[in-house]
């Protein structure tokens, strides 16, 4: 199957040539911004919802304002974008290329935890600020110690699993659910890491894990998983899942009538297409992320996103992706030049007003983020956070 591997390479080649051709020449002073993320491959389904529309929106808005304000006058943004084909090797090459050949002034963070970690050394080598937006890791402290240019915004693995346990604890204390938890995970780095983090915490809090299985990424039929979980008679169902299986598990749970008061699926539960597909059945489903969609800033952002890209942003990382672009823009304006070192220092010492609310970096880490959300009345509201205002109380999930 060597040939199949080769296939992605050609796609990227064609795509990058096409993209380079589309970069237009601008006469006045410009700021060159580079972006590399999946347009094809397994993560493309996520990045085309969460990342790329935000790039388009931000560049369009900045240029409509006349550009980023520097001491020497306003500079329009010139965007150079590459497809990393969801391959870490390609992502590294893209960043290297942006830094050394395209000589861009700033590079937007790549999409996904693995890709941020894989490219962090290149960002550090050429001293570009790396304001991650879709990276969740427990290695925030060692990474920020090693790289003075990296910033984390979305949270840590353990916090995400602890928050889910805490939500279930609250529901147990209220008498909504009992002790029995069915937990499944996708057999991929993300799912395994989350399940391994959650398992001891569940046990410590006195929960009984009655079903604990993994399934391969891309399983065409998840009904045996739901059958098994249902047979274990759980009070709560927790799935550390990726987009295709988040949809697949939920469809099966609905068909098979897996009625639990607490039902959690991880990535993509916050996608508008999830609410679109399941409609009223989505009510009460818990998932990773969440935001407060009712703030003025968020409402404005949703409207602009829809207008410029024709798509609705997701209810989790979309806003954070956009917020990191706002942070970059504010920092460049604050410094007033393209001095990357000064921009990095500026980011470290400033509180930014973003669409997600105020963001301050403490040791290069944003400590206030959303962890769990719930579909309530057609929107995905944050129900748990590490210090963001406006979280809604959790509701028990109604029957399908």
């Amino acid at each position: 199957m060597e040939i199949l591997k080769y296939k992605n390479l050609v796609i990227a080649g064609v795509a990058s040539i096409a993209m380079m051709a589309s970069v237009s020449a601008v006469s006045a002073e410009t700021i060159k911004i580079g972006a590399s993320a999946p347009k094809t491959g397994p993560l493309a389904g996520g990045s085309t919802v969460t990342f790329w529309p935000n790039v388009k929106l931000w560049v369009e808005q900045v240029n409509a304002r006349g550009g980023i304000k520097l001491k020497s006058g306003k500079a329009k943004v010139e965007l150079i974008e590459y497809d990393d084909r969801t391959t870490p090797g390609e992502a590294i090459k893209n960043i290297q290329r942006l830094a050394t050949q395209d000589k861009v002034d700033f590079i937007l963070a790549p999409y996904g935890t693995g890709f941020n970690l894989a490219t962090a050394p290149i960002f550090a080598k050429y001293n570009y600020p790396l304001i991650t937006h879709t990276a969740i890791t427990d290695k925030v402290i060692p990474l920020t110690k090693r790289y003075s240019n990296i910033f984390f915004t979305l949270g840590s693995t353990t916090t995400f699993s602890v928050s889910v346990v805490n939500i279930l604890k609250k529901m147990r204390a209220a008498g909504t659910i009992g002790n029995r938890v069915a937990m499944v995970n996708v057999a991929d780095a993300f799912g395994i890491e989350m399940a391994n983090a959650a398992r001891p915490i569940f046990k410590k809090e006195g929960f009984d894990i009655v079903y604990d299985k993994s399934y391969p990424l891309g399983s065409p039929d998840l009904s045996p998983v739901i059958r098994g979980a249902k047979a274990a008679k759980p009070d709560a169902f927790v799935a550390w899942s990726y987009p295709p299986d988040t949809f697949g598990l939920t469809a099966q749970a609905k068909v098979q009538g897996l009625n639990v008061k607490a039902y959690y699926t991880a990535v993509a539960t916050a996608f508008p297409s999830f609410g679109g597909k399941f409609g009223k059945s989505a009510e009460g489903i818990l998932g990773a992320g969440g935001i407060n969609p009712d703030t003025e800033a968020m409402k404005k952002y949703f409207a602009a996103h829809k207008k410029v890209t024709g798509k609705t942003p997701d209810y989790w990382a979309s806003g954070m992706v956009y917020a990191t672009f706002q942070i970059l823009e504010k920092s460049i304006e604050g410094v007033g030049s393209k001095d990357r070192k000064a921009v990095i220092d500026y980011i470290k010492n400033t509180t930014f007003n973003t669409v997600m609310g105020p963001i301050t970096f403490k040791n290069q880490n944003n400590e206030k983020y959303w962890t769990v959300g719930q579909w309530q009345g057609g929107k995905f509201y944050g129900v748990s956070s590490t210090g963001r205002p406006g979280q809604k109380p959790v509701k028990p999930k109604p029957k399908w």
Binding site: K39, G45, V49, W52, D221, P224, G248, A251, S273
Partner: protein, 288 residues
């Protein structure tokens, strides 16, 4: 019993993935690596019909199948005919067709990306339980299964009971001899290729009812179809059907009785065993 039913439902889905490739590879001798993309194109068509006009994915086949037939006919006439004409041996045609269809798969991925975008697509149709022996099963899967049964039987009887089908099988066994006995081999091959494409795209339309898909997911379907067709012995449609069901049943049994994490391992173990002990496939003949 529950495992058996889930297993044959999954097997039905697998026949939909693999049947088209069997026709294309078995009869037209084109190892079509763009098979998965054709399937995803069918899914997109069904998605589009459903979301823009609330048009049932099942009826969308009425449009998808003839359209895919025409498109694949053209693909064969434009891209494949020259390869077939210049190929001195079957092996050469296989290599050439792999390269060519490989290229076509990029074009198809690019087109779908450009038209629909890269995100995940999923919709709810017949996502309701249907009870068999007290256990709920997804209606959409049952419909897909029934359709695959009808399709398989039609193809099987057509291949075995009609003159045209006989010609197909003759071409499949030996194209040169078939040509010598008065069969229009190029025409039969083009028809088989187009028919295979139509079957694949219709399968995609049906599978889209319960599988979440995106523009670049096709390669996964291609892989599955390849495994099934090769295990079945490329020349015989029965092999493809049986292997699809064997895979469906064994994956489900492993998922239910041992661990869902081992389904892929089980499928590829069967594949390796087949290659080791019966490299010509279930219904293949040993080459002399």
């Amino acid at each position: 019993m529950d495992i058996f039913i889930i297993g044959i439902l999954l097997g039905g889905a697998y026949t939909l993935m693999a049947m088209g490739l069997q026709l294309q590879y078995g009869v037209a001798r084109i190892m079509n690596l763009a098979n998965g993309e054709m399937l995803v194109a069918g899914s997109f068509a069904a998605f589009w019909f459903f979301t823009s006009a609330q048009f049932s994915p099942i009826f969308s086949i009425l449009v998808v199948a003839p359209l895919a037939f025409a498109v694949n006919w053209l693909i064969y006439k434009i891209f494949m005919r020259y390869l077939v004409n210049r190929a001195k041996s079957e092996g050469q045609l296989e290599v050439d067709s792999i390269l060519s269809t490989f290229g076509q798969s990029f074009i198809l991925v690019g087109l779908m990306l450009a038209v629909f975008g890269g995100e995940y697509f999923s919709y709810s149709y017949l996502e309701k339980p249907f009870e068999i022996l007290g256990q709920p099963y997804e209606q959409s899967r049952i419909v897909a299964f029934l359709f695959s049964v009808v399709l398989c039987s039609c193809l099987y009887f057509w291949l075995n009971r009609t003159r045209m089908g006989l010609a197909f099988r003759a071409v499949s066994v030996n194209p040169e001899a078939a040509g010598l006995s008065g069969i229009n081999v190029p025409r039969a091959s083009a028809l088989a290729f187009a028919l295979g494409g139509a079957v694949t795209a219709s399968g995609g339309a049906l599978l889209s009812m319960f599988l979440t898909f995106d523009a670049s997911v096709g390669v996964i379907f291609t892989m599955k179809a390849l495994v099934i067709v090769i295990m079945g012995g490329a020349r015989d449609i029965r092999g493809t059907i049986i292997v699809a069901f064997v895979l469906g049943l064994s994956e489900t049994a492993v998922a239910s009785l041992i661990d869902p994490g081992l389904t892929l391992a089980a499928a590829y173990l069967l594949f390796i065993l087949t290659l080791l002990f019966r490299p010509e496939g279930l219904f293949g003949r040993r080459s002399s």
